[in-house]
Amino acid sequence: MASTRIFVPRETAAVSVGADEVAIEIARVSKSTDSSVTLVRNGSWGASWLEPLVEVEVDGQRIAYRNVSASDVADLFEAGLLAGAPHPKRLGPTNEIPYLIDQDRWTLFRCGLIEPLSVEGFRETGGFAGLEAALGMGSDAVIAAVTESGLRGRGGAGFPTGIKWRTAADASADQKYIACNADEGDSGTFSDRLLMEGDPMCLFEGMAIAGYAVGANKGYIYLRSEYPLTRRILERALDAARSAGWLGDNIQGSDFSFDIELHVGAGSYVCGEETAMLESLEGKRGIVRSKPPLPAISGLFGKPTIINNVITLASVPNILRLGAQRYAAYGNDRSKGTLPFQLAGNIKRGGVVEKAFGITLRELVEEWGGGTATGRPVKAVQVGGPLGAYIPASDFDTPLEYEAFAAIGGMLGHGGIVVFDDATDMAQQARFAMEFCAIESCGKCTPCRIGSTRGVEVIDRIVAGEQRQANEVLLRELCDTMEHASLCAMGGMTPYPVRSILKHFPEDFSR
């Protein structure tokens, strides 16, 4: 009898709720029952609420079982797991799960599907075809395609990717760099991690395309240290891609050479800010640099450097393989394409949902997410990480687009959506926004370094009822100063969550 393939994700969320133990138990039970099983450690499909999501391949179709624990395995085998038999944990065919198939999976389409360390599996699903297309069309045409796609920086700032690439391509220098920002520090975000653990070579391909487009032969991935499993997967995937000739000198016999070095951060949030990241990549304290000069002109070691987020770079291969127009057809107006939204915090069905821009918060939180995990009403949703506004239920019909969110005093950031229920003390969240800024500030500029600490104190006074009105005026003035006088988004956007709470939940300051 042929060996049956069983898929158990090796992905941080799945492993955090027992996937490794499930894999070990499957190996043990299949041996003791004399079953011929091939265990595949795939990435995650992104439906974290179903993890560990175990799949068995039956007649070419993958059948999913949800929330499998090690103690379920013997029972599953007895019920006929290898034939995809019924069981209370059986969900049915993976390609019929609504949460997964109703997405617009442009960037994450391989996550869960393939074995992340297999070059063959990557190639079979169109891997490196974008790079091949790029090498055939020339660097100017590559930049034109990226510009035409409407792709904007997915790290949070939303800067048009094509323009950034053009700037670096036009800069003349003996050395240029591609620096991938994988310092995914915003609470509520994990799509970079999902991609790197589930489809690492897609990122390498995007970086190589960027290198070809601007004339860089060296890339860096700056990965946060909080992702040790991601690190191991990236290291092995880099080795595999190099061995297969997709990284290194003269890629696939072409004139183009490109290699990637992995750097691990050391627990500093502000190193996700691009210039602080450059300092850290140079082996220094992660202190923010003044801009200009733009990194695309003078970046890493003073050389022209493209700094893009993981998702930005990983969106590029398909733009070249399938066409810029196909990507631009998603979304609308100035927010084109897709964004992997991350449903997090107090939510029933948390995970990554890649959708075209324009979907509303209500759809994501209520229809996809199923409301809160605690079953209580939603009070607020923080969109865009610790520097993003808290959105009240009255604004849930706002479409998730860069401009629409700016209009309500918020930002999409990296697409993190953190849900809070009605038991939340919003004044405490406002205080935390300032406290977090005080903890993580690099200390270079005064509004951020000092303002954040003063902010905590002023909020404490307001909550204590000391000269409430006067202190509220002071807090607003402090927010204005931080926003306008800080060097980077750390101090500059900490006021966003604070102001949103002052506006929408003033009663929480006096309860």
Partner: protein
């Protein structure tokens, strides 16, 4: 001269593994953390020499980043996420429970345990999250935490 609490050769090997490149200081320090568990003063001196940096350069980097400790940690390092997505699922209560049940305050160490708050482990759909000895755990209820700690004690 005081006796060194580490083997200088190990540090030299780590530097060599990174080709002596000063810009890889963070990676070298991670290597030291993996090998020794913390960054003794003598290591700062040695790294400055071998990487051709000033001691201030190395000290500055060590003191800037949360990952680099300048005193020995407990046998187990527990990092508790205290960021928003975990707060929404009771991370503050979990943090207090951990401090109480282990008798260690955040940022403090005993010979057994080092306890640290962290701001996001990237496991935000399975919050609250805790990292124990570099492994991330999700959906950590108070009870689950107690069980995890018990298994640590059992495995020692």
């Amino acid at each position: 001269m005081t006796e060194k609490s580490f083997d200088p050769d190990i540090v030299s090997q780590i530097v060599a593994r990174h080709s002596g490149r000063a810009e890889l200081l963070l990676q070298v320090l991670h290597g030291v953390m993996d090998a020794i568990g913390w960054i003794p003063d003598d290591v700062i001196r040695q790294l400055a020499n071998e990487l051709n940096l000033s001691r201030a350069d190395v000290h500055g980097v060590v003191s800037y980043y949360d990952d680099f400790r300048t005193s020995p940690p407990g046998k187990h390092v527990i990092k508790v996420c205290q960021a928003e997505a975990c707060q929404a699922m009771g991370a503050r209560e979990l943090g207090q429970h951990i401090e109480r049940s282990l008798g260690v305050a955040m940022h403090e160490s005993t010979t057994e345990i080092t306890l640290q708050p962290v701001y996001c482990l990237g496991n935000c759909a399975c919050s609250p999250a805790v990292m124990i000895d570099n492994k991330t755990y999700g959906k950590v209820t108070l009870q689950r935490f107690d069980e995890l700690v018990e298994s640590l004690a059992g495995g020692r």
